[in-house]
C-alpha cells in the first residue's frame, strides 16, 4: 500500500472517528469547513479527494463510499453525501463492471433527491443513469435521461452548476454520435454563449469538437474559425499534441476548399508533431491524407510512401476493424497504387474499402436508427409533460401533433431502412448494372433497329405474293394473246437482262430513271414514268435492243408489268435477305453484348469486328449527328475477353458521343505499333477540363448530375484494360476534343 495514501486514509479515518466521538465538533484535518462551502466548492473537493484515493490507491469504490457515507450522514449533510454517492456510481460505471442493480439504485437515488429537493443532484443522477445506459449501448433511455438532466440544469448558472460546460458537451456529443450535427452544434454553442471562456475546462478540445461539427455540416468558414481559435489557445498553452491534431483537422477543411498548398503545410506539421508524441491513430489518418494530397500534386511515389506508412500502423495496432478509419484510408491507398501502376493491389484495396464501407454503413445506420427511436421517446415524453401542464386545453392539439410527429418519425424510419437496404444492394450491384443500364437507355432504338428490317420483310413478302398472283392471272393472256415474235423478244429481254444486284442511292436511281424516260421518249413511247420507275426498281438500268423491240408492241404496258412482277420475285427476296441479315446482325450484336462469360476466358479477337459490333448496336444513336471516320489498319488478332473489350469500346464511344452533345466527328482508329495495337477513339467534343483530368479514372467520379451516371464507367474500363495487360491513356484539349488510346499487346501472354 502506497505510503502517502495510507497516510491520507489514516487522516480521514481519524477525522471520521473524531467527528463521530465529538458530535458537533467538526473535523479539522478533513478538507477545511467543507460542509459550509457552496455546492461548487463541495464538488471540487469531492472530486479531488475521491480521485486521490481512488487513483493513487487501489481501494474499491464501495469501501470509499462507506467511508464518506459514515462521515456525511453523521454530519447530516445530505448534499455532500449524495455528491459522494454519485461520484461513486460514476466510478463504478466507468471503471468496473457495473451490474444491473446499479440502475435500480440510481433510480432510487433520483427519487430520494426529488424528495429532498436537491435538484442539481437529481440532474446529476439522471446524467449518471444516462451514462450507464450509454455504456450499455441502450441509447433511447440514455438520451431520455440526458434530456431530463438538461431540463433541470439549464436554468442554473456556471457558479451554481460547475460541470455545466462538460455536461453540455457530453450531451452534444451524443447527438454527434447519431450524426445529428445540427443539434450537437446547438448544445456546443450554448456553452460558448452562456459561459465565459476562461471558465470552460479543456476549451481546446471543446473548440475542436465544435469546429468538427461545423466541418461535418460543410460550414467550412465557421469551422476554420473555431479550429484557429483552438489552435491559438493550444499554442499559448504549449500543448503540442493538440496543435498537431488541429493542424490535421484544418488540413481536411483546406482540402475541401481545394487550398492544397495550405493543406500540405498543415498536414506536414501534424505529422511532425504526431510522430514526436507517438499519436498513432492520428498518424494513420495524417499519413493517408498527406498521400492523398501528394497524389493531387502528382507526386505519386511519395504518396505511396505515405500510404504505406499509414498501413504499417494499421497493421501494428491491429486497427482493421476500425471501419471508419479503414473507409477513409483504403480508398487513398488504392488510388495511390493505381497512380503507381499497381492495379492489382489497387483493386484489392478498393474491394476491401467496399467491404469496410458496407460494415461501417451498417453500424452507422444502426446508430441512426436508435437515434430515431430516441426521438419517438422524446416526443412522447415532452407530450406527456405538456399534457400534464395544460391537459384540457391542449388535449386535442396534442393528439394531432403526436400523430404528426409519429408519422414523421415513421417516415424517417422507413427512409433509413430503405436507405440501408438500398446502400447494400446498390454497392453489390453497381458494377454489374453499369452495362445493363447503358443498354436499357438504348432499348428504344434497338426496337427501332429491329422493326425496320421487319417492316421491310413484311412488305416484301406481301409484294412477292401480290406479284405472283398477277403473274398467274397474266399467264394465259401471255401464252394465248401475245404474238409469237413479241413473246420471243420478251423472253430474250428477260433472259439477257441481268438485273443489277447492287443497291443504288435514290439520287442515282433518279438519274437512271430520267435516262430511261428520255430514251423511251426518243423511241416514241409516252407516259413512261411508272414504267421506268418499275424497271429501275427491279434492277433494269438500261434499255437493251430486246426492250427496244418490245416498245413497239401493242401490249407494251402489260408486258412491262409482267416484267416487273417476274423480276420483282427476285427483287423482293433480295430485300428480305438483306433485312434478315440486318436483323440478325443486330440480334447477334445484342446477344454478344449482353452475354457474360462465366470465366474470364481470353480468346483470339479480331479488334475490327469487336468494335464494329458496338457500332452496330449504337447505329441509331450515332447516325443522328455523328459522322464516323474509321481508320482501321489490318492488324493481327489480339488475345482478350471479347465481352469485356466490347464494354470498353462502348463506354468510350458513348462518352465521346455525350461529350459532343450528339454532334460532331467520331474517329476510330486501329493502328499497329511494333508489338502493340493502339485503338484510338477521338471526339470533337468539349474536352476534359485540366482540373479534373487526374480524377476521371477514379471510381464514383462523375461530371454528370447525380443519378445520371454511376461514375464507375471509366473506373471499370480501366480495370478491364489493366486485366488485358494493356494501357489506357487520353489526350484532351478543352474546346477541341478528347482522344482515348487503348494500347493492347500482341503478345499472347496476358495476365
Amino acid at each position: 500500500m502506497n505510503k502517502a495514501v495510507t497516510c491520507l486514509l489514516f487522516i480521514i479515518f481519524s477525522a471520521l472517528a473524531f467527528g463521530k466521538s465529538f458530535g458537533e465538533q467538526r473535523p479539522t484535518i478533513f478538507p477545511q469547513n467543507v460542509l459550509h462551502k457552496s455546492y461548487k466548492i463541495q464538488c471540487f473537493t469531492v472530486d479531488s479527494i475521491y480521485d486521490e484515493i481512488f487513483y493513487k490507491h487501489s481501494q474499491t469504490p464501495d469501501s470509499i463510499l462507506n467511508l464518506f457515507e459514515n462521515f456525511s450522514l453523521s454530519n447530516r449533510d445530505f448534499q455532500l453525501y449524495y455528491l459522494f454517492a454519485i461520484k461513486h456510481y460514476y466510478l463504478k460505471i466507468y471503471n468496473i463492471q457495473a451490474d444491473s442493480s446499479i440502475q435500480k439504485n440510481i433510480s432510487a437515488l433520483i427519487n430520494e433527491l426529488e424528495e429532498k429537493q436537491l435538484y442539481i443532484l437529481k440532474a446529476e443522477a439522471h446524467q449518471l443513469l444516462a451514462e450507464y445506459y450509454w455504456t450499455n449501448k441502450n441509447y433511447p433511455p440514455s438520451l431520455e435521461h440526458y434530456i431530463y438532466a438538461y431540463h433541470i440544469y439549464s436554468p442554473f448558472s456556471i457558479d451554481e452548476f460547475p460541470h455545466k460546460a462538460d455536461f453540455l458537451y457530453d450531451f452534444g456529443n451524443r447527438y454527434y454520435h447519431f450524426r445529428d450535427l445540427e443539434t450537437a452544434k446547438r448544445y456546443y454553442l450554448e456553452v460558448w454563449r452562456t459561459i465565459p471562456s476562461e471558465q470552460i475546462p479543456n476549451n481546446v478540445s471543446k473548440l475542436n469538437t465544435l469546429a468538427l461539427a461545423y466541418s461535418g455540416l460543410d460550414i467550412i468558414d465557421s469551422s476554420n474559425y473555431y479550429f484557429n481559435k483552438a489552435n491559438a489557445i493550444a499554442e499559448k498553452n504549449n500543448d503540442e499534441v493538440w496543435v498537431g491534431i488541429i493542424c490535421g483537422n484544418l488540413s481536411t477543411n483546406y482540402m475541401k476548399q481545394q487550398k492544397y498548398d495550405e493543406a500540405i503545410a498543415l498536414i506536414e506539421k501534424n505529422i511532425t508533431i504526431s510522430e514526436k508524441h507517438h499519436q498513432m491513430i492520428d498518424l494513420t489518418t495524417a499519413y493517408s491524407r498527406y498521400g492523398e494530397l501528394l497524389l493531387i500534386k502528382k507526386d505519386s511515389k511519395k504518396a505511396l510512401e505515405m500510404e504505406l506508412k499509414s498501413l504499417e500502423i494499421i497493421k501494428q495496432k491491429n486497427l482493421f476493424l476500425n471501419y471508419s478509419l479503414i473507409v477513409r484510408i483504403y480508398p487513398n491507398v488504392a488510388k495511390v497504387y493505381a497512380a503507381n501502376g499497381n492495379m492489382k493491389l489497387a483493386y484489392a484495396y478498393y474491394d476491401s474499402a467496399y467491404i469496410a464501407n458496407e460494415a461501417w454503413q451498417k453500424e452507422r445506420n444502426a446508430i441512426i436508427l436508435s437515434g430515431v427511436q430516441h426521438k419517438i421517446d422524446v416526443e412522447r415524453h415532452t407530450a406527456e409533460i405538456q399534457k400534464n401542464q395544460d391537459e384540457v386545453k391542449h388535449q386535442k392539439q396534442l393528439q394531432y401533433s403526436l400523430t404528426g410527429v409519429l408519422a414523421i418519425v415513421l417516415i424517417g424510419l422507413g427512409v433509413i431502412l430503405f436507405q440501408q437496404r438500398k446502400i447494400k444492394s446498390a454497392q453489390s450491384k453497381l458494377i454489374q448494372s453499369e452495362k445493363m443500364a447503358v443498354l436499357g437507355q438504348l432499348s428504344a432504338s434497338i426496337a427501332h433497329e429491329v422493326n425496320t428490317p421487319l417492316g421491310a420483310i413484311k412488305s416484301s413478302s406481301e409484294e412477292s405474293i401480290n406479284s405472283f398472283s398477277e403473274i398467274l392471272n397474266d399467264l394465259s393472256w401471255f401464252t394465248h394473246t401475245v404474238p409469237e415474235n413479241e413473246k420471243h423478244a420478251f423472253m430474250e429481254f428477260l433472259l439477257y437482262s441481268t438485273p443489277a444486284n447492287q443497291t443504288l442511292s435514290t439520287k442515282e436511281e433518279r438519274e437512271i430513271k430520267k435516262n430511261i424516260r428520255d430514251r423511251f421518249n426518243e423511241l416514241g413511247v409516252e407516259n413512261t414514268r411508272l414504267i421506268s420507275d418499275r424497271l429501275v426498281h427491279v434492277g433494269i438500268y438500261e434499255i437493251t435492243p430486246a426492250l427496244e423491240t418490245i416498245t413497239k408492241s401493242h401490249y407494251f404496258d402489260k408486258l412491262m408489268l409482267l416484267t416487273y412482277n417476274l423480276l420483282n420475285q427476285q427483287r423482293s427476296n433480295q430485300t428480305i435477305l438483306l433485312a434478315v441479315d440486318k436483323a440478325s446482325r443486330i440480334v447477334k450484336a445484342l446477344k454478344a453484348y449482353t452475354h457474360t462469360t462465366k470465366s474470364d476466358e481470353m480468346i483470339s479477337i479480331n479488334l475490327r469486328d469487336n468494335i464494329e459490333m458496338v457500332l452496330t448496336i449504337y447505329h441509331n444513336r450515332l447516325k443522328q449527328g455523328i459522322q464516323i471516320i474509321k481508320d482501321y489498319e489490318d492488324v493481327p488478332n489480339i488475345y482478350g475477353n471479347p465481352d469485356k473489350l466490347n464494354q470498353v469500346w462502348t463506354n468510350l464511344i458513348v462518352n465521346a458521343v455525350q461529350a459532343m452533345d450528339n454532334n460532331g466527328i467520331l474517329s476510330i482508329g486501329i493502328k499497329r505499333e511494333g508489338d502493340f495495337v493502339v485503338v484510338s477513339i477521338k471526339d470533337t467534343g468539349k474536352g476534359i477540363p485540366k482540373e479534373i483530368q487526374s480524377k476521371i479514372f477514379d471510381p464514383f467520379f462523375t461530371t454528370k448530375n447525380s443519378g445520371e451516371g454511376s461514375g464507375l464507367g471509366l473506373d471499370i474500363i480501366k480495370r478491364i484494360v489493366e486485366d488485358h495487360n494493356a494501357k489506357i491513356s487520353f489526350h484532351s484539349i478543352e474546346g477541341e476534343g478528347t482522344t482515348f488510346y487503348v494500347k493492347l499487346s500482341l503478345n499472347k501472354a496476358v495476365s
Binding site: A444, L454, N568, T575, K623, Q624
Partner: protein, 128 residues
C-alpha cells in the same frame, strides 16, 4: 392541264423505300408520281424542284422519324410550311417514344404509322 400528283417518301433505310415503292405502285399505279429520298435534306431538294414545276403538285410526304441530320417531324413541319394542303405521314419504329406520342397528339397535321406497318393501313391513310 391536269397536274401530276407526287408522293414523296423519305427514309434513310433503302429497304424501306423499296418496300414503299412496291406497295405504292401496286396500289396506285399511274395515278401518282413517286419520289424517294434517303434524307430529309434530299427530300427538301426534290420538293423544291417539284414546287418550281407548274404541272407538279405534292400530294403526300411519308417520312421516317429518326434519320441522320434533320428528323422526320421537323421535315414534315417544314414541308407543311412550303406546300399547302399536303398530307404528311410519319413512319416510325419508335412505338413507345414520348416524342412520337406528342407529335401524334399535337395539331400539326402529322399522322403516324408504325413499323412494321400494314400495307392496307398505309394506303388508307394516303387515300383518306
Amino acid at each position: 392541264m391536269k397536274k401530276i400528283l407526287n408522293i414523296v417518301c423519305v427514309d434513310d433505310e433503302k429497304i424501306v423505300l423499296d418496300s414503299l415503292n412496291s406497295q405504292l405502285t401496286r396500289n396506285f399505279g399511274n395515278n401518282y408520281n413517286y419520289e424517294f429520298a434517303e434524307s430529309a435534306e434530299e427530300a427538301l431538294d426534290i420538293i423544291d424542284d417539284l414546287c418550281h414545276e407548274e404541272d407538279e403538285m405534292i400530294y403526300v410526304v411519308i417520312s421516317d422519324w429518326l434519320m441522320p441530320g434533320m428528323k422526320g417531324d421537323e421535315l414534315l413541319i417544314e414541308v407543311r410550311k412550303k406546300v399547302d394542303n399536303v398530307k404528311t405521314i410519319l413512319l416510325t419504329g419508335h412505338i413507345d417514344s414520348k416524342v412520337i406520342q406528342e407529335i401524334e397528339k399535337s395539331d400539326k397535321g402529322i399522322k403516324c404509322i408504325y413499323k412494321p406497318w400494314n400495307e392496307k393501313d398505309l394506303i388508307a391513310l394516303i387515300e383518306d
